[in-house]
């Protein structure tokens, strides 16, 4: 299957600013690949280089075995869905979708059929005569999608295509977009700063920061096994503990202040000053006075009701503030503000982090 994108040592400088700093990424055919990161991390510049709008300073963009780094955008078999959609305001929906078909040497009938098919695919068949200004944001987004997909590109590039939509619509389109990708089997390269979007839609996620790839892997890998502090912090809420690492069999003994913890995840062979992280939902709240290893007493400072869960802010011995998510399962286990509790940090949920930046894994 065609649609493989390989980035090799790809670099882009704007004057003195290094926007993309020699990244290597492999996007196999038919994959839903997401570049995730804060604004200014280089994800959009990378996408624009794949599309051909920016010329790389150095490095290669290999599309199905051919280096296209110096090929102008109109000669690349990739298409883009823009963040602002960039629908041509002077053309109606059908005219927008038909725009690129002119360069495919089709007969008029065939063009009309392809446009109708593409519009059906995004369920906009009945709006073909409307102008973009007469469409809602969600409808414009679908037109932009149809306009790109009608050309059957080998790779579809999506630059935060859901960013301008409201939360409800976004959720629906996330599911649709993923289903569409699975159905068409086209490689999707998706750019977003929304970690939830990245986790729910992607086959693989590359977390980017400062023009580099911090970590690439399946959504589960990058969430559950972040290899750097940045990844741990960017993907959801995480609690960070600073401590001294030493050997403890196959695990890591972590000394935090007066207490010692056993950590079974991550860079367990690190020694010396390290950071360790644990997700709020993996901390277990126990009665004050409960005994055992990997336990830490604390006071509940705030209890925030989230609907399906409570978020507790627990000030632990030593002064750190840990965030703990307790499901609202009716057991009334959520301690109120001011209550003394014991936090259990299970060894298999405690992850020792390599210092950031680190070479990309996965």
């Amino acid at each position: 299957m065609a649609g493989e994108v390989r980035l090799e040592e790809l670099t882009k400088r704007f004057g003195d600013v290094v926007a993309v700093d020699g990244i290597d990424l492999d996007m196999p055919p038919g994959e839903f690949f997401t570049m995730l990161g804060p604004s200014g991390c280089g994800k959009t510049t990378t996408l624009r280089m794949i599309a051909g709008f920016e010329r790389p300073t150095s490095g290669r963009i290999v599309l199905d075995g051919v280096d296209v780094a110096q090929v102008p955008p109109h000669k690349r078999n990739v298409n883009t869905v823009f963040q602002s959609y960039a629908l041509f305001p002077h053309l109606d929906v059908a005219g927008n979708v038909a725009f690129g078909l002119k360069y495919h040497g089709l007969t008029k009938d065939e063009r009309r059929r392809r446009v109708a098919e593409a519009l059906d695919l995004v369920q906009l068949g009945d709006l073909a005569q409307r102008k973009p200004a007469q469409l809602s944001g969600g409808q414009q987004q679908r037109v932009a999608l149809a306009r790109a997909l009608v050309l059957t590109p080998r790779v579809l590039l999506l630059d935060e295509p859901l960013g301008a939509l409201d939360a409800r619509l976004r959720k629906g389109l996330q599911v649709e977009l993923k289903a569409l990708q699975a159905e068409l089997g086209i490689t999707f390269v998706f750019v977003t700063h929304d970690q939830e979007e990245a986790l729910t839609m992607s086959d693989r996620v590359a977390v980017m920061n400062g023009g580099r790839v911090e970590q690439a892997g399946s959504p589960r890998e990058v969430y559950e096994e972040p290899s750097t502090m940045f990844v741990a912090d960017f993907l959801g809420v995480s609690n960070l503990l600073s401590g001294e690492a030493s050997a403890d069999g196959s695990n890591c003994a972590l000394r935090v202040g007066e207490r010692s913890f056993r950590a079974a995840q991550g860079a367990v062979d690190s020694r010396g000053a390290v950071k360790a992280m644990i997700r709020p939902e993996r901390i277990v709240v126990e009665e004050h006075g409960a005994a055992g290893d990997n336990r830490l007493p604390g006071l509940v400072e705030r209890a925030v009701f989230l609907g399906n869960a409570f978020e507790l802010h627990v000030r632990v011995v030593g002064g750190d503030l840990l965030r703990v998510t307790v499901p609202n399962d009716g057991s009334a286990s959520a301690a109120g503000e001011g209550a003394a509790v014991m936090l259990h940090l299970p060894a298999e949920a405690l992850r020792v982090l390599a210092p950031s930046p680190a070479p990309a894994a996965g």
Partner: protein, 283 residues
């Protein structure tokens, strides 16, 4: 009165008052001039009754061969000017917008120079140019057309570039992404998007050309190259009758009509969103 002006809850009445006074002051003489075009007597100061004799009568403007010649020549020059300055200005605007290299800043500033140069300086400079540098061209219609194109070009560039900036690069990127080669970016995307600005700038060029006196006068070559403004100036110094007012009214009507048309076309296509062009139309 003071209390009425200082009412802090209503509209800013002081500003309304000043604006109203200014509008009255600027429109009043024009209104009086038009009114006397309909005078039934020969006086340009005493209204003796209303008639159309200075338009349709035997001595009226519609029967004056000098006026008809001047009107024809004025419209001819305006047409040439629109046909040359508009495409040239659009091309320049596109080029300047894309050109990011050395010297682009200087050229951008130089483009604005004709807008601020006193017209008399421009007129004299062009006269010297045609007499000393290109004596072969001589004075007359060609020199007048070249002169008018020279200073109207800047208006086209300014209006079209304003629109180009507000369009942004994303439509061109989208078109290239969909496979359009560079030539098609302009033909299939930029020109349709620029259409309102092109119509607006053509109208501005037309109005500037019709109204121009200084440059056109300097570069004229005899009676056959007389335009309406030149005729107005000449007859004002001769024996003025209300026919003069009638000519002026006709000229005003043509100018206003062109600008109104351009404004409507622009609003229709651009939704009246582009303040820069709207301002430019109020030259």
């Amino acid at each position: 009165m003071i209390a009425w002006l200082r009412n802090p809850w209503g509209r800013p009445r002081g500003l309304v008052l000043v604006t109203g006074l200014y509008v009255a002051w600027s429109i009043l003489p024009v209104g009086i001039a038009i009114l006397f075009a309909f005078n039934s007597g020969r006086s340009r100061t005493t209204l003796q009754g209303i008639s159309l004799r200075w338009f349709t009568g035997p001595a009226g403007v519609f029967h004056d061969p000098a006026l008809q010649g001047a009107l024809k020549h004025t419209l001819f020059l305006a047409l040439i000017c629109v046909l040359v300055a508009t495409p040239l200005g659009v091309t320049l605007a596109l080029g300047l917008q894309r050109w990011r290299g050395r010297g682009s800043g200087t050229v951008n500033t130089l483009m604005l120079l004709p807008l601020v140069t006193p017209e008399i300086v421009m007129g004299v400079a062009l006269l010297i140019l045609f007499l000393k540098v290109f004596p072969g061209l001589g004075l007359g219609t060609t020199a007048q057309a070249i002169g008018q194109v020279t200073f109207t070009l800047s208006y086209v560039v300014v209006i079209v570039r304003g629109r180009l900036v507000s369009i942004g690069p994303e439509y061109e990127e989208a078109a290239a992404d969909l496979g359009a080669p560079p030539r098609d970016l302009i033909v299939r995307v930029l020109l349709p998007l620029l259409a309102p600005a092109i119509v607006a700038s053509a109208a501005v060029v037309f109005a500037l050309s019709i109204d121009d006196f200084v440059v056109t006068q300097y570069l004229s070559g005899g009676a056959s190259t007389t335009t309406i403004p030149m005729l107005l100036y000449a007859s004002a110094r001769g024996a003025p009758t209300p026919a003069l007012n009638a000519i002026a009214s006709v000229a005003l009507l043509i100018t206003l009509g062109t600008l109104a048309l351009a404004f409507l076309v622009y609003r229709r296509f651009a939704g009246g969103s582009d303040a820069a062009v709207a301002a430019a139309l109020e030259v």
